[in-house]
């Protein structure tokens, strides 16, 4: 029986891998039911191909933009005119993650790192895959708010520990592991709303990690019940810096009308990174009404925050990271052109391992390719 199960798993893994390799060749066309306006079928296939080969497609597959009719999808690059083309080795993609005079001088070799996806909402395999990739690439990935499985410890120098409103699995040692600690105030896909991990996803492992009871729904409240002002926020940052003085502090917020004020408040509270998460970002599960309607898309939030930090004379001291709908390398470049230092990506990583952006993650059967948990 066990052998059969192993054989079955092997068969399907092999088939999926084969599919991810063959589909982008367009031998069978673009499947009609694949994709949507933001992640079009073409973009999904192009991402599979890039994940398989490390190269952009050469068969005409659109790999830079989706079909949403706005934001990054309608921004295009101005022709460089007479500017000479630089040799690849002359281009430095690295960015520092701490622009303040004090604190660890961390940097990443290209302008993005992996966003928070929590244990419980994603599978352990996917989590470890992300951690390994982060280590290999010399970048970081965030735990999300579901705790810090011990299997991640070997990669701890590349793992950002997220401290979110539910405080699930936030312990002194997991805070001390981290080179970067990330306060999650809000999430772009459900801004102003807390999280809700469905009861059937709270298995014994998840319950242990989150220090809760099995098969009981878990709510992350909104907002931090201890933070109602910038002063409270500063106390939070001070607390973190006491627990782990060597860590950089990132503050993840959503994109309300006053996102610029929130950013400056975070700067004065001592954050090294202000991470703004736009409304069209990913999630394990969220009300559709929240994803589409609350808070502004990241394309509009970046220039607003950037310009405000410039006008306040602090732009060079804080790193501005953008997320929430960053799908492609082109999106990253556009986000930087609009004023970000770099981006935080998550959904694209899921697509790289076979996600179809089908949105069935919360159906209780688990993800058909094992990315999110059932």
């Amino acid at each position: 029986m066990i052998n059969n199960q192993a054989g079955i798993n092997e068969k399907h893994s092999e088939r999926i891998h084969h599919g991810l390799d063959i589909l982008p060749s367009l031998k069978y066309g673009i499947p009609g039911g694949l994709g949507n306006k933001r992640w079009t079928g073409e973009l999904l296939l192009a991402t599979y191909l890039q994940a398989s080969t490390g190269q952009p497609p050469s068969n005409g597959l659109e790999y830079r933009i989706g079909d949403s009719g706005g934001g990054f999808d309608v921004l295009s690059w101005r022709k460089p005119g007479d500017m000479p083309r630089l040799a690849t080795e002359e281009v430095d993609l690295g960015i520092p993650l701490n622009n303040r005079a004090v604190g660890a001088k961390l940097s990443i070799p290209f302008p993005f790192y992996g966003g928070g996806m929590s244990f419980g909402s994603i599978s352990l395999n996917f989590m470890i895959a992300r951690a390994r990739a982060a280590e290999k690439l010399g970048t970081y990935m965030s735990t999300g708010e579901g705790g810090y499985p011990e299997q991640l410890v070997p990669y701890k120098d590349h793992i950002i520990t997220q401290v979110a409103t539910g405080m699930f699995g936030v312990r002194e040692e997991t805070m001390q592991y981290a080179p970067i600690l990330e306060f999650k105030y809000a999430q772009g896909a459900k801004p102003g709303l807390g999280g809700h991990l469905l009861a059937d996803k709270v298995t014994s492992e998840v319950a242990r990690m989150r220090e809760s009871s099995m098969f009981t729904s878990l709510y992350s409240p909104f907002p931090f019940h201890s933070v109602y002002s910038v002063e409270d926020h500063k106390k939070h940052v001070d607390w973190i810096k006491t627990v782990n003085p060597r860590a950089l502090v990132s503050v993840k917020v959503s994109t309300p009308t006053d996102v610029d004020m929130v950013a400056i408040g975070s700067y004065y509270a001592g954050a090294n990174i202000i991470h703004i998460d736009g409304g069209y970002g990913g999630t394990g599960a969220a009300p559709e009404i929240a994803k589409k309607n609350i808070a502004m898309p990241i394309e509009y939030a970046i220039p607003k925050v950037h310009r405000y930090l410039v006008s306040e004379g602090v732009r060079d001291e804080i790193v501005l990271m953008a997320s929430g709908g960053i799908r492609t390398a082109d999106d990253i470049a556009k986000a930087i052109a609009l004023g970000a230092d770099g981006c935080v990506v998550a959904t694209a990583e899921a697509v790289a391992v076979g996600c179809t952006h089908c949105g069935n993650c919360e159906r209780g059967r688990g993800c058909q390719v094992g990315i999110t948990r059932g």
């Binding site: 068969k11 399907h12 088939r15 999926i16 599919g19 991810l20 069978y28 499947p31 009609g32 039911g33 694949l34 949507n36 306006k37 933001r38 949403s68 009719g69 706005g70 309608v74 295009s76 101005r78 105030y185 809000a186 102003g192 709303l193 809700h196 409240p221 931090f224 933070v227 109602y228 926020h233 917020v253 009308t257 069209y280 990913g282 999630t283 394990g284 599960a285 009300p287 559709e288 009404i289 589409k292 309607n293 808070a295 502004m296 898309p297 394309e299 509009y300 970046i302 220039p303 929430g324 709908g325 959904t347 076979g354 179809t356 089908c358 949105g359 069935n360 993650c361 919360e362 058909q368």
Partner: protein, 470 residues
């Protein structure tokens, strides 16, 4: 007595809408159409049988975790209605499997009603739940009208998380009617001048089934409205409505004599088919009754609204067509006209003395808070009710006088529950929007455009200095 408190009075009861499952009774098309190329499927089975050495379990293990191929004939006769479009079968067997959006699904709706919005209403009315999905937003970046508006959220300074599961109460009730700025009292403390005349609705929503709706739909609307504590309106002279405290008759010259208006909590005068003279006539006959006036939104709507206030209207019901576009030469979205009328009434200093209802094209839960932000106190639902009750599209339903949604025969109790479910879902979604802003009362949202962002404004600001491609 409120138990244990020693305080007289009814125990506190939090407003709650009881949703109960009310499944579709008419077939709903499958969203996805899954199809296997049979010859290739047979060849694959032979190939896998040899490759996996006749190990039945491995050979017959199928890629679909939703059981689409779990029938006796597997992929040769897929159980299509189970397909959720996860695409794993296509990933595994791209040479065999095809999954497309179903033809009948794609044909659902009309120019305004997309298949996705029809499905959303069907889901909400059958379950009463908020639609929740995994992964991020999948649609267009923005769009005309409501789709070009985002609502605000508050990062930290707000009450503790309320939302649907919250501990703190968020009020969704709306007042309908008129308020004087101040009250005049006689020496014996009686109010002598204009009195406050207000009705209260538990949701900022009124139900107004299109005129072509059949009798059973009318009764389902009536039953759901009284259960929900909200008002419904129609011009139907149904006897069943006579004792109904939630029924607002729509009157014009043609049906005036056929309706018994004595018990109506409010009367709506239809200016589409009558002239303003009728308002005075009714005011004379019913001096203390609330009078609402149904007004089309066009270039003259602001002026007309001010005149109606002076004529004694308590409520103005601003109407666009069923697609949410107004009757001006430019056929603008209702949000623009609504904002114009609201702003004009504010500037005239009379906004708080009158109620604005907006209707036409309110087809998704998010349209309610957005219409309120644009200046409405309440919204009216029309074609949405018919979609919830599984009416059939027979063409474009834009023109208010030509509803091409054919109502089907329904059980009244089923219909009422579907509408209650729809309102339960929309109530919870309204709460999600309000709680994200840290707002405890939907009435505070009225006209508060500062709690919203429009695509036009944000684009101007954010992309300033970027050349536009011609």
């Amino acid at each position: 007595m409120v138990s244990g408190t020693g305080v007289e009075g009814p125990a506190y009861e939090r407003f709650h809408i009881e949703a109960k499952s009310a499944d579709h009774v008419y077939n709903v098309p499958n969203k996805f159409d899954v199809h296997a190329k049979r010859l290739r499927l047979a060849a694959m089975l032979i190939h896998e049988t040899i490759r996996y050495r006749f190990n039945r379990d491995i050979v017959l293990s199928r890629p679909c975790i939703y059981g689409v191929f779990s029938g006796r004939l597997g992929g040769f006769k897929p159980i299509k209605q189970r397909c959720v479009g996860c695409m794993r079968c296509v990933q595994e067997y791209p040479h065999i499997m095809q999954v497309n959006y179903g033809k009948k699904y794609r044909e659902l709706g009309d120019l305004h009603w997309t298949p996705e919005s029809v499905f959303t209403i069907l889901y909400e009315s059958s379950t009463g739940k908020i639609p929740v999905k995994g992964m991020g937003y999948k649609g267009s970046f923005s769009g005309e009208g409501w789709d070009g508006i985002w609502t605000d959220m508050s990062e930290i300074v707000r009450p503790t998380r309320d939302g649907v599961f919250g501990r703190e109460y968020i009020s969704t009730s709306a007042d309908i009617g008129s308020k004087p700025f101040f009250l005049d009292f006689s020496s014996s403390d009686d109010v002598t001048g204009k009195k406050i005349r207000l009705l209260q609705s538990s949701l900022p929503i009124m139900l107004q089934p299109p005129e072509s709706s059949k009798l059973d739909i009318g009764i389902a609307v009536k039953q759901s409205a009284s259960k929900l504590g909200i008002y419904h309106m129609s011009r139907s002279p149904l006897n069943a409505y006579e004792e109904d405290p939630w029924y607002v008759p729509i009157v014009d010259k043609a049906n005036l004599g056929k309706l018994n208006l004595d018990r109506a909590p409010m009367i709506e005068v239809d200016l589409f088919t009558s002239n303003r003279g009728l308002i005075g006539e009714l005011r004379q006959r019913y001096p203390s009754k609330l009078i609402s006036v149904r007004l089309k939104i066009d270039e003259a709507a602001e002026d007309e609204a001010c005149r109606l206030f002076n004529d004694g209207a308590d409520v103005i019901h601003l109407c666009a067509d069923y697609h949410g576009f107004d009757y001006s030469k430019t056929h603008s979205h209702i949000s623009h006209g609504l904002r114009r009328v609201h702003t004009r009434l504010v500037n005239e200093g009379i906004r708080d003395r009158i109620t604005l209802i907006a209707s036409g094209g309110i087809t998704r839960a998010e349209h309610v808070p957005k219409a309120i932000i644009c200046g409405a106190d309440l919204v009216g639902l029309d074609t949405t009710l018919l979609i919830a009750l599984q009416s059939e599209f027979k063409g474009e339903t834009r023109d208010r006088t030509d509803c091409r949604l054919a109502s089907r025969k329904i059980e009244v109790a089923w219909g009422a529950q579907r509408l209650i479910n729809l309102m339960a879902s929309w109530h919870d979604q309204l709460i999600e929007i309000l709680s994200a802003m840290g707002m405890r009362d939907v009435r505070r949202l009225r006209g508060d455009v500062g709690r919203s962002m429009t695509d036009e404004e944000l684009r101007e600001q954010a992309f300033e200095g970027i050349d536009k491609l011609s």
